[in-house]
């Protein structure tokens, strides 16, 4: 049965009729068309579906949409401003942090949360923050390089 769900997605207040058993990932991808959030293992093991809930990384495939009622959701689509890549997106592009690209949105959202709470993380701290995100291309060195590069370019987003 559908129930009214009120929440904020990428800064915009939304009200949608959403099935009680809908997962957050299905709401984002199918109802809102925000397909940047990827459906990877779909069982909470790979982190590809990581989004931010009130700024904290959360697995959208293991979260019920109605359980985040009233909260603020951020997806990878919300990072760029006026067509300009965010510092993390730019760093992933410039430092080859993205290979096939499937894990990238989850990596970037987990890294975004890290840089907000710890703007200058060590490589170990970056690895710990991304421990729940798998890259099947195994491009981890470049991913850590990218996050490190983003941390050094300050708040510049354009």
């Amino acid at each position: 049965m559908k129930k009214l769900l009120t929440l904020t997605v990428n800064g915009r207040l939304r009200e949608d009729a959403v099935a009680e058993n809908a997962l957050l990932i299905d709401y984002l991808r199918d109802t809102l068309g925000l397909t940047g959030t990827k459906q990877g293992c779909d069982g909470g093991e790979c982190g590809a579906c990581t989004v931010l809930v009130d700024g904290v990384p959360r697995l959208a495939c293991s979260t019920l949409a109605h359980s985040v009622e009233g909260r603020s959701i951020e997806t990878v689509e919300g990072l760029s401003t006026a067509g300009n890549l965010s510092r993390l997106q730019r760093a992933f592009h410039e430092h080859l942090g993205s290979q096939c690209g499937f894990c990238t949105p989850g990596m970037i959202m987990a890294a975004e949360a890290l840089l907000r709470r710890n703007p200058q993380p060590s490589r170990d701290e970056i690895r710990a923050a991304l421990a729940g995100n798998l890259c099947r291309c195994t491009g981890y060195v470049k991913i850590v390089d990218s996050v490190e590069a983003a941390s050094k370019c300050g708040e510049v987003t354009a």
Partner: protein, 328 residues
């Protein structure tokens, strides 16, 4: 993964309302972080007519010191637990165990209560419907034989929560709320050595909080063996609580996880109290650990290896805590 079956969704604001809803819908389940329950439900490993979300129950998120006890609401997340200053300084085994659960994204959603009530696991159970059907299912769900011990009348799925052994070794108590009111019991009494009915919770009962004594002079630690360092359930996990008085042991408590259908508090360690920790004492400790555990073929890692590795893990922790306690 499959789609979730249809269910009603409730989000009560109090533990009492949650219990009342649980009574109204007999085939309902409580959900907290959902990191284990939802993947299991999507694999068809149990359904529900209603899910009762505990995320809005503020009283279950309290973490406070009551004199010489720490009160931890069952809704406190593992990330909060692992970073709490009192937990880190006074109950390091609990902080380490919380930090050893899955990855950081899981821990910011997963709760203490969820980890304590974690569904038991087995390589014959945590599989897709197709896989399980091809294997004629198993006793834990839809079948009648335990694939791990085919002649057994019980299920041997392993309890695999990391936090329970730490709390068992620390002597925690749990607070349960049911239709008849609240009751407290030692954490050890919450568990049953049966892979299908591993919790001694009543039908409508809710685990509301845990209280842990803050005992002066106690050192503690938790460590686990796992295949994948970043995210994995324990092949074996060991928590040790130790108090040293000069050259003698004043207290030694050890609990294990992943190696029985319940987290196991190791018996027979009292005889070591008052002794020094020499090789003979360590050998006795290892023997008691080996006697207290019962690893079965619930994981792909071999049973003899887990049986041998668990006491070794315990020995390393005990020795480390003993040496560290000398300086303090």
């Amino acid at each position: 993964m499959g789609a979730l079956s249809e269910f009603r969704f409730f989000r009560p604001a109090s533990a009492a309302d949650a219990v009342r809803l649980r009574g109204e819908f007999p085939a309902s389940r409580f959900i907290a972080g959902g990191t284990d329950l939802l993947p299991n439900m999507r694999r068809g490993l149990g359904g529900a007519e209603a899910l009762i979300d505990l995320g809005a129950v503020a009283e279950m998120k309290e973490l406070r010191r009551d004199g010489e006890r720490l009160h931890i609401g069952a809704g406190v997340t593992l990330a909060t637990l692992a970073a709490d200053p009192i937990v880190v300084s006074r109950l390091p085994a609990l902080a380490q165990a919380a930090l050893a659960v899955a990855g950081p994204t899981h821990r910011s959603a997963a709760t203490l209560g969820g980890n304590l009530c974690l569904e038991t696991r087995c390589q014959y159970f945590n599989q897709s419907e197709h896989w399980r059907a091809a294997n004629q299912f198993c006793m834990k769900l839809d079948g009648d034989t335990c694939r791990v011990a085919p002649k057994s009348s019980r299920c041997y799925a392993a309890f695999s929560g990391d936090v329970a052994p730490a709390l068992l070794a620390l002597g925690a108590e749990v607070e349960l709320l049911g239709p008849q009111g609240a009751r407290r019991l030692p954490l050890a009494e919450l568990y049953v050595d049966d892979g299908m009915r591993w919790l001694a919770l009543g039908a409508d009962e809710l685990l509301v909080a845990v209280t842990v004594p803050l005992v002066a002079g106690r050192a503690s630690a938790y460590a686990k063996l796992r295949v994948r360092g970043a995210i994995d359930f324990p092949l074996a996990g060991v928590a040790v609580v130790l108090r040293r008085d000069g050259d003698t042991l004043a207290e030694l408590r050890i609990a294990c996880t992943g190696v029985s259908s319940r987290p196991e508090l190791i018996a027979g360690l009292d005889e070591l109290v008052g002794q020094t920790l020499d090789d003979a004492a360590l050998a006795t400790m290892e023997r008691q650990v080996k006697r207290g555990i019962q690893p079965m073929e619930t994981t792909l890692m071999s049973v003899p290896w887990r049986r041998r590795a668990t006491p070794v893990l315990a020995k390393r922790l005990v020795r480390r805590l003993w040496d560290e306690a000398k300086g303090g």
